[in-house]
Amino acid sequence: MEEVKLNGFELVYKKPSTLTETPFHYCPGCGHGIIHKILMEVIEETNIQDKVIGVAPVGCSVFAYNYMDIDMQEAAHGRASAVATGIKRVLPEKYVFSYQGDGDLAAIGTAETIHTVNRGENILIIFVNNAIYGMTGGQMAPTTLKGQITSTSPFGREMKSAGYPLKITELIAQLPGAYFVTRQSIHTANAIRKLKKAILKSFEYQKLNSGTCFIEVVSNCPSGWKLTPLESLKWMEENMFPYYPLGDLKVPQN
């Protein structure tokens, strides 16, 4: 990082240059902001800004391209991994990632997600699981927990009719096309440092052309959950981690 001085003090952290000046439109305390920032830190530190193409989903992060100062495409709802496949196949030398929410990746996009990984497309899929449809106002997601109240599960998610919270990452880890599969979160500075490492690794792995890297980030949605940001992190730890345990699900064999 270049040396900037503030009355003799050294700069030790500043917003990455790979983020634009546009302030995030996200609600206060939303994990999307944290993940965007960390992702762009990695892009900056690995110097691949000119070699990376990102795919934004339809979801709260639909505007990701307003913030990430890289070439990006905005995909149809659920099709981000298909769009990423199209890009990577014609630009095999470039780094390609998709950034998707749980509704996008695990509901409407289920087929594209599974087949993209099954083909072992050499891309990184970042899966932001906040157990709800944030953008559309807090409806039930495939990852919504048992009994969790949302605008479309007003009496709490009920298995008999709405089905079970879908652990799609566990399914993904089964596919031979998956090279690195991990579940991380953003509830503490250290968790965020771990997430950053996972992203860093994934871009290194992408050079190897040996399969898909898949990072689930258990995240929050204060607005959808109707909690303050701090409450939301607590709720996440108490309710989401037990069902979506953090850690690596599949690590490269060699």
Binding site: I53, I70, Q73, A76, I87
Partner: protein, 366 residues
């Protein structure tokens, strides 16, 4: 490659189209099997890998059209193909592609519908192709071949137009054109200039702003501006109108038909002229942009139009819009995979010609 020698070949429409696409320099094909056009994917599966090009059998048409979105957005010359039900599945993606203004080729080898229908030839998807099967105000550039030769030639035209106007293009064929073999002279490889798209997402170099491919413009004012851009483009597209005229000069009765139906009409015209009926044919080659002006002119001289289609009468609306009441516009056609015979069309011509004459004699009588 001896492929480039201008030799006459005997080929299936689907394969001629695929080979032509290779010569047009496509970098990737994404598609999903469906009768009567699976030969396209199969041909590419045999021919593309050896040439270091991409052929990918997607998990569905839905995935395929979105792969096209990504690949075209990344600057590549790409295409997909399917038949009616598969094309319906692509409608959301097509609307996105049109809105993001991504050039690409979509081939619809039309079969009989609606629903699963039949796999026999049909023109039942005309409205979907030209009026926008997807949501919002957009148009595809639509070319309608009528022979195996045109199946091959129009691939080049489609890419040229698509890339010139940053707009998706469609070739609307039918099962017969896809399956039949005819003589064909394939276009020369390399005769189509490379695609150039400064706006494509190829990695943001220091020398430029980042490139973004999107169809989202949340402020309606902005979205309206995008729509004005699109509408301007569609106006400009009117310069690209193409059609074929057959014996229209002295024609009293004008047939209007596209694709395979136009070939049937051609035969019917010969038969009619043998019987002394002055019949002619206008064949729209570009279904969008549609030759409204030309047909409007023709309407000044003709005493009646007969539109012939392999559907319930879809293009007939565009012909009526062009004729705008100047003379009657009749329709005859077959549906659900049936092809009208020259005799059926001739019968209609004779019926209308009788009508006209009786009218004129009545007038004479006055």
């Amino acid at each position: 490659m001896d492929k480039n020698i201008q030799e006459v070949k005997l080929m299936k429409g689907n394969e001629a189209l695929a080979e032509s696409a290779i010569r047009a320099g496509i970098q990737a094909y994404f598609g999903y099997p469906i009768t009567p056009q699976s030969e396209i994917l199969e041909y590419f599966s045999r021919e593309l890998p050896g040439r270091g090009k991409i052929v990918l059998q997607a998990e569905s048409e839905l995935a395929a059209i979105n792969m096209i979105y990504g690949a075209s957005g990344a600057g590549a010359r790409v295409m997909t193909s399917s038949s009616s039900p598969g094309i319906s599945l692509m409608q959301e993606g097509i609307s996105y592609i049109a809105s993001a203004q991504l050039p690409c080729l979509i081939v619809n080898v039309n079969r009989g519908g609606p629903g699963l229908g039949t796999i026999q030839p049909s023109q039942g998807d005309y409205m979907q192709a030209v009026k926008g099967g997807g949501h919002g105000d957009y148009h595809l550039i639509v070319l309608a071949p009528a022979s195996v030769q045109e199946m091959a030639d129009f691939v080049f035209d489609a890419f040229r137009l698509a890339e010139k106007y940053r707009n998706p293009a469609m070739i609307l064929a039918d099962g017969a054109l896809g399956q039949m073999m005819e003589k064909v002279i394939l276009p020369e490889e390399g005769s189509l200039p490379k695609r150039e798209s400064k706006w494509a997402t190829t990695g943001k170099t220091a020398s430029r702003e980042r490139n973004i491919i999107t169809s989202l413009f949340i402020e309606p004012e902005k979205m309206e501006r995008i729509n004005f851009e699109l509408q301007d483009k569609y106006k400009k597209l009117q310069d690209e109108v193409r059609f074929e005229e057959i014996e229209t000069e002295d024609a009293e009765i004008l047939l209007a038909a596209f694709g395979l139906a136009a070939r049937v009409c051609q035969k019917a015209i010969e038969l009619a002229r043998e019987k002394g009926i002055k019949a002619g044919l206008i064949r729209p080659i570009t279904l969008y942009p549609f030759p409204y002006k030309k047909i409007e002119k023709l309407a000044d001289k003709a005493s009646s139009f007969i539109v012939v289609e392999m559907n319930s009468g879809q293009m007939v609306e565009d012909v009526r819009l062009a004729v705008n009441g100047k003379c009657p516009v009749e329709f005859t056609g077959r549906m659900g995979g049936m092809i009208p015979s020259p005799d059926e069309v001739l019968a209609k011509i004779e019926e209308i010609s009788k009508k006209i004459n009786s009218l004129s004699t009545n007038e004479a009588g006055r």
